[in-house]
């Protein structure tokens, strides 16, 4: 079984996770830039983070046989801090990089005017750079937030078919599907969605344009949720082709819109004797 986790924050995960993910079938992933739990206070902190998503993290992933790509953006939560908004001006020089397969995560957190500005500006950046967009839907006031998100996408230069609406659930999947965008579901241990609810959504809506992710990060989360959904799908009577479509072909098709996916992993040269990561640094 081959698995593509289209949304996971590996910066917050250990090498044990990479190893377990590989053993579960994960061969590719996308790491969206997002909030780090601790608010940042300057653009430079973002730049170091972006550089890590384009340097160190793909290097770590490759040592475990996993292809790593990223999405870059100013996230909605920190878009509300004027100390961080200059990140928007620097994004164009990052969006040309080989490993960047979408603009994201963008979207709404508290639905403020500053979030409106950042969302619209970054949808435009995606259109300008030939990239799709990964759009986070808010945790609070979700359905209203989703509808407002869809409206902003419709008014933007970016085709809804180049947008992935993420963190969907039973209450938002219908509106999201009608918008023509791709449909992302984050499977969490307690919150968001779980495996069995995901299977029920797949039964009701089919597998078209559906992506499933672990969204694993620094909170209580599980990087193997993608595999658990695949297993739950098979147990519920879905075939292996359905699983491959949801867990591999759909994310490849969506992020492939960037023209930048490189799914063959070139393991870094020169690794013998226990490399720098397995030893935990010097």
């Amino acid at each position: 079984m081959r698995i593509f986790d289209p949304h996971i924050h590996m910066t917050s995960r250990t090498t044990d996770d990479y190893q377990a993910m590989y053993a579960s079938g994960v061969r590719a992933l996308v790491e969206p830039s997002f909030w780090l739990g601790q608010p940042r206070t300057s653009p430079e902190s973002f730049f170091d983070y972006f550089d890590a998503l384009l340097g160190w993290e793909p290097f770590r992933a490759a040592q475990y046989g996993i292809a790593h790509h990223c999405t870059l953006a100013l996230n909605p939560k920190e878009a509300n801090d004027p100390r961080c908004t200059p990140v928007l001006d620097a994004l164009p020089r990052y969006l040309v990089k080989d490993g960047v397969v979408a603009v994201g995560e963008i979207g709404y957190d508290s639905m403020t005017p500053a979030e409106d500005t950042a969302l619209a500006a970054q949808l435009q950046l995606a259109a300008d750079h030939g990239l799709p967009a990964l759009v986070h839907t808010p945790h609070r006031d979700k359905l209203a937030g989703l509808r407002r998100t869809i409206d902003v996408v419709r008014e933007s230069a970016l085709d809804p078919e180049r947008v992935l609406l993420d963190h969907l659930n039973e209450t938002t999947v219908k509106d999201a599907a009608e918008s023509g965008s791709w449909l992302g579901f984050s499977i969490y241990p307690d919150t968001k969605m779980d495996e069995d609810r995901m299977v029920a959504v797949l039964k009701a809506h089919g597998t078209e344009k559906v992506l499933v992710n672990s969204a694993a990060d620094w909170g209580k989360s599980d990087p193997l949720k993608t595999r658990k959904v695949a297993d739950a799908m098979l147990a519920a009577g879905f075939g292996e082709d359905d699983v491959d479509r949801v867990l591999w072909r759909n994310p490849v098709a969506f992020y492939g819109l960037s023209g930048r996916l490189q799914l063959e992993v070139a393991a870094p040269e020169a690794l013998h004797e226990g490399n720098s990561i397995l030893r935990g640094g010097e």
Binding site: D51, G55, F59, V96, D98, E269, G274
Partner: protein
């Protein structure tokens, strides 16, 4: 005097690129050739060839990205200012290309901060690119010895270290560091890298 590696040429690359990649490279080289001197320009707009430098991997294939990027740096006559900016704003792959081009583009020690930055990482792609002819020519003895140890620690073959035999010869301090490292590994019941004995032998200071 730096023993420069042969610079890649358009002719070397041509047979390895498909038609689309070849056309892309020709356009990129034309833009690079038109690059302004790095002391000219408005310092605001990103030069078109620099966007090509970033995009080289996806257009020419990752396996050709190093020589394509080196060729662009040559064609654009990139100097220390440009190389430093591209390094700091680059992905790991772009940083590696800058490091590989240093012996072709920089004559004095001015680019050492880039080499030192790369040697501080644990990314073997960067470490391997940092210990080329430029480091052999300019890195001070202490930093150079630590670079050798870093290669042994991170599994970069010492064959990547340019000028190893010349610089190692007669270096008693390097020999001591290598012997201490071997002793530490042995005490831990861990294997000693074969490369370590090779480097130690080159010092001629085995005791």
């Amino acid at each position: 005097m730096i023993s420069n590696p042969p610079a890649p040429t358009r002719e070397d690359l041509a047979p390895r690129l498909d038609a689309a990649a070849g056309a892309w490279l020709d356009a990129a080289l034309a833009e690079a050739a038109a690059a302004l001197d790095e002391n000219e320009g408005d310092n605001v707009a990103v030069a078109p060839w620099e966007l090509r430098f970033a995009a080289a991997g996806r257009h020419c294939g990752q396996e050709h990205a190093d020589p394509v990027r080196t060729l662009l740096l040559q064609e654009a006559r990139a100097g220390l200012t440009t190389l430093t900016r591209l390094y700091h704003q680059g992905t790991a792959a772009e940083r590696r290309a800058v490091l590989l081009a240093l012996p072709l583009r920089v004559t004095g020690p001015g680019a050492l901060p880039l080499v030192e930055d790369a040697l501080r990482t644990n990314d073997t792609r960067l470490v391997a690119a940092a210990v080329g002819p430029y480091a052999a020519a300019h890195l001070d003895p202490h930093s150079w010895r630590h670079a050798i140890l870093k290669c042994l620690f991170t599994g970069v073959p010492v064959a990547a270290v340019d000028g190893l035999d010349r610089r190692a010869h007669g270096d008693a301090e390097l020999a001591r560091m290598l012997a201490d490292f071997a002793a530490e590994r042995t005490a831990a019941g861990r294997p000693v890298p074969a490369d370590l004995y090779h480097a130690l032998h080159l010092t001629g200071e085995e005791s």
